[in-house]
């Protein structure tokens, strides 16, 4: 390997899900990381930088996979990255407490013939188990150095970096390891390699020929596609014919498919290597994880415990979150007051106070609660409890024809629908995937949270936590019911068998939880500072223009002048004057709004939403929510700020409370939960599922939202 001028080293982190890849990534990159949404169970794909001993190390975190076959898209993405982009080093992260299963991916990395370093993570758990390991021997057998790490504590990070640089400077450090597949298979592999060697110049730039031959025997579609492009037509046909002959020969002689034999041989290789190097301590006692699991995934207790944990989470978020939220609201009120005193009355003042502070400020005040919710979710995820939730839900999901694996994207949907849609790529069966995508919208994403906080806070101030908990639960129940319906109608078939993962419980680290929380909060803040700011300005313009001029239904200026005269002559008290002038100004503002472009749109769509109890304002807010559910809140903020004399948050909340009753408030939350997600999510939906499914998604969620809200409002009206 030739050193580049700036001594840049590109490394890719590969590992099975739950092997602790994220913590290793965080330890390697520290605070210099970039975060983006990406498919995969851990969802967020990260890239980061680390300066170490004069080198700039670029770290790419590949999707977590168990294997490098091309069955799932994340496997393919990980594999293609290694083949096409050729990182300088691949760091194979292995969960030390489960070597047999984790090393399976490593055997495939060995076959890819890339410079490797093994990070045996969670080595503390491994050591506690009392098993002894001969690392230097295992390193020789695997053909690459091994570093023991504890991702959660940062142990072994520098050793890992040193080994990375060592292998970078001398990639041929380890001996070349070839996993043997038995005489029959090896003979066929040799034949294929011989044929491929005729085009070695073309092929070896990209592929290792032995790996390529193994993939051909596995009938790997992606490899076949690549070869079809790279080779001449006749050569390709000859190759395919030869491979098919080899497969048939192996099937006849060994009575099994080559890919099964290959997989068995890989496990055989790992078993052999571990037998040579591991000295396990006989275990009779039950592990702590198993003891906790006796309660948390108990057939009877599992679900109620999950419900209690969720309920407690919402109580915590709302009770504690109220304090910082009120401080922020006070801060924005003071800012509005300051601007109000400094600026002369006019459009610019209204834009700043009603449009920007009312809109964006209305979103930003909820940041502490959003942060608290994300901290709670991160705690549950990092501890390993969320994996148990998927396990608990597995039984329910099986009853509706799906499996627990479908619940993982649903859990991710509590954060954001976009990565949740992408995460469905892990489902191999298209029908399973389509159902999971179609029901994912009922998981309350972070964008809907401000809508719930606003309305629950206004109409149910004492029970806000319970009310929002109920909305989340309704979302899950409707998702389950819709899955059942979709399985019985549009997407028939059986769910594919799948083994649920149950990782060991881990104590979440403060750093890890904070990073997870910050990633999501930062996304929320970025959204508030970019698209929500833009929409708030646009909404203010739509609420302000065209100007009403003298087209009021009554002559309000005359009424105000008369009122002022009465006050000056002492006919009415100061209180009466203020109250009456407030009413007149309110009427004026209401007429100005009705006259505005937004008002006209609102009135135009109002008949559709009227049976749900929504007036033109709520109808308009619902429509604006297409751009992003948080926009509903910013629109309400701008709208009520324009018609409220005091621009502070409590006055705006009071104005909303006066306008609607709790039934309408709850129904609006329900409608916001059920109708299709924001446009960004829809764009991803289209990319993942196609236009036809997108139209179905929009149509059925909108229809369902309308029908359920209609029923709730009409029945609720009878009682209230």
């Amino acid at each position: 390997m030739v050193e580049t001028k700036d001594k840049e080293v590109i490394i890719a982190l590969a590992g099975s899900p739950n092997s602790g890849k994220t913590s290793i990534f965080n330890n390697l990159t520290g605070a210099m990381q970039h975060v983006g949404n990406y498919p995969g169970v851990t969802v967020e794909q990260k890239t980061g930088l680390r300066k170490y001993k004069g080198y700039t190390i670029k770290v790419f975190d590949l999707p977590g996979t168990y294997s490098l076959t091309a069955y799932t898209l994340e496997e393919l993405v990980a594999r293609n990255y290694i083949i096409n982009e050729r990182p300088d080093i691949v760091v194979s992260i292995v969960d030390s407490s489960n070597l047999l299963r984790n090393l399976y991916l490593s055997t495939q990395l060995i076959e890819l013939d890339v410079p490797l370093v093994f990070a045996f993570n969670m080595s503390d758990v491994f050591k506690k188990s009392g098993t002894e390991i001969n690392l230097s021997l295992l390193s020789q057998l695997l053909g690459a150095p091994i570093v023991q790490t504890v991702g959660s504590k940062g142990t072994g990070t520098n050793e890992l970096l040193d080994k990375i640089l060592e292998v970078y400077k001398n990639p041929q450090t380890g001996k070349k390891v070839n996993i043997k597949y038995g005489d029959e298979l090896e003979n066929e592999l040799s034949k294929i390699i011989k044929l491929l060697k005729k085009d070695e110049a073309k092929l070896s730039q990209k592929f290792n020929l032995r790996w390529l031959s193994i993939k051909l025997l596995e009938r790997d579609r992606e490899v076949l596609k690549s070869l079809e492009v790279l080779l001449e037509e006749k050569k390709y046909k000859d190759l395919v014919k030869m491979v098919e002959n080899s497969i048939n020969h192996i099937k006849n002689v060994l009575r099994d498919m080559p890919e099964t034999i290959i997989a068995e041989s890989r496990y055989g290789f790992i078993n052999g290597a571990l037998k040579e190097t591991l000295k396990e301590k006989p275990q009779n006692e039950i592990s702590a994880s198993d003891r906790i699991d006796r309660i948390l995934i108990n057939r009877i207790l599992g679900l109620p415990v999950f419900a209690i944990i969720m309920w407690l989470m919402f109580q915590l978020v709302f009770k504690i979150g109220d304090y910082p939220m009120n401080w922020l609201a006070l801060g924005f009120s003071k800012l509005s007051q300051l601007l109000s005193n400094l600026m002369p009355t006019g459009l610019l003042k209204s834009l700043l106070i009603d449009g920007i502070i009312g809109g964006v400020g209305g979103i930003l005040v909820f940041t502490p609660k959003v942060m608290l919710l994300f901290i709670s979710i991160a705690l549950l995820e990092d501890s390993g409890y969320m994996a148990r939730v998927a396990f608990i839900m597995d039984r329910i999901m099986h009853k509706i024809g799906l499996h627990g694996k479908s619940f993982i994207p649903m859990l991710i949907g509590f954060g954001c629908t976009i990565p949740a849609y992408m995460c469905t790529r892990t489902l191999e069966n298209r029908n399973d995937r389509m159902i999971t995508m179609h029901i994912n919208t009922f998981m309350s994403c972070g964008g809907r949270l401000p809508v719930y906080i606003l309305f629950a806070g206004i109409f149910f101030p004492k029970n806000a936590g319970n009310i929002i908990f109920s909305i989340y639960v309704i979302g899950i129940v409707i998702a389950v019911l819709m899955a059942k319906l979709l399985r019985a109608t549009r997407f028939r078939g059986e769910a594919e068998p799948f083994v649920m993962e149950l990782p060991n419980y881990r104590v979440p680290t403060v750093k890890g939880v904070m990073i997870h929380m910050w990633e999501r909060t930062w996304q929320y803040l970025k959204k508030a500072g970019t698209i929500i700011l833009a929409i708030s300005i646009i909404m203010w313009i739509l609420f302000t223009f065209p100007r009403i001029g003298n087209a009021y239904s009554e002559d309000y200026s005359k009424q105000l002048a008369r009122l002022e005269q009465s006050f000056k002559s002492g006919d009415i008290s100061e209180k009466e004057y203020k109250d009456t002038s407030g009413v007149i100004e309110g009427k004026m503002a209401a007429e100005e709004l009705s006259y505005s472009a937004a008002g006209r749109i609102g009135y135009f769509v109002e008949p559709v939403f009227e049976p749900l109890g929504f007036d033109w304002r709520l109808s308009l807010a619902s429509i604006s929510g297409i751009a992003g559910k948080e926009v509903v809140v910013s629109t309400m903020g701008t709208l009520f700020s324009l018609t409220t004399e005091n621009k502070d948050s409590p006055s705006i909340r009071n104005a909303i409370a006066e306008q609607y009753n709790p039934l309408v408030g709850y129904n609006f939350m329900l409608f916001s939960l059920l109708y299709f997600p924001c446009v960004a999510s829809l764009a991803v939906f289209k990319k993942e599922a196609g236009t036809k499914e997108l139209l179905f998604q929009i149509g059925y969620t909108l229809g369902l939202a309308w029908v359920i809200s209609f029923i709730v409002f009409q029945i609720g009206r009878i009682f209230l």
């Binding site: 590109i10 990406y38 982009e85 970019t530 833009a534 300005i537 313009i541 992003g628």
Partner: protein, 59 residues
């Protein structure tokens, strides 16, 4: 004078907001980015990986 400045500022702010909004939607429809907050810059990791690969090949 203040009214004129005020109208100019509002017109410019409005134009910028509308421009940003349109760009955001076009990017969404074209599927250029993966998260809702990336209207300003393409943060998509897949494209980052591709760019990185291209850069390295050129080296």
């Amino acid at each position: 004078m203040f009214r004129i400045i005020e109208i100019i500022i509002i017109a410019l702010t409005g134009a910028a907001a509308v421009g940003f909004f349109i760009r955001y939607f076009i990017n969404e429809i074209k599927g250029k980015k993966t998260c809702a907050s990336c209207a300003v810059k393409d943060f998509c990791v897949e494209s980052k990986i591709k760019k990185e690969g291209k850069r390295r090949k050129e080296h």
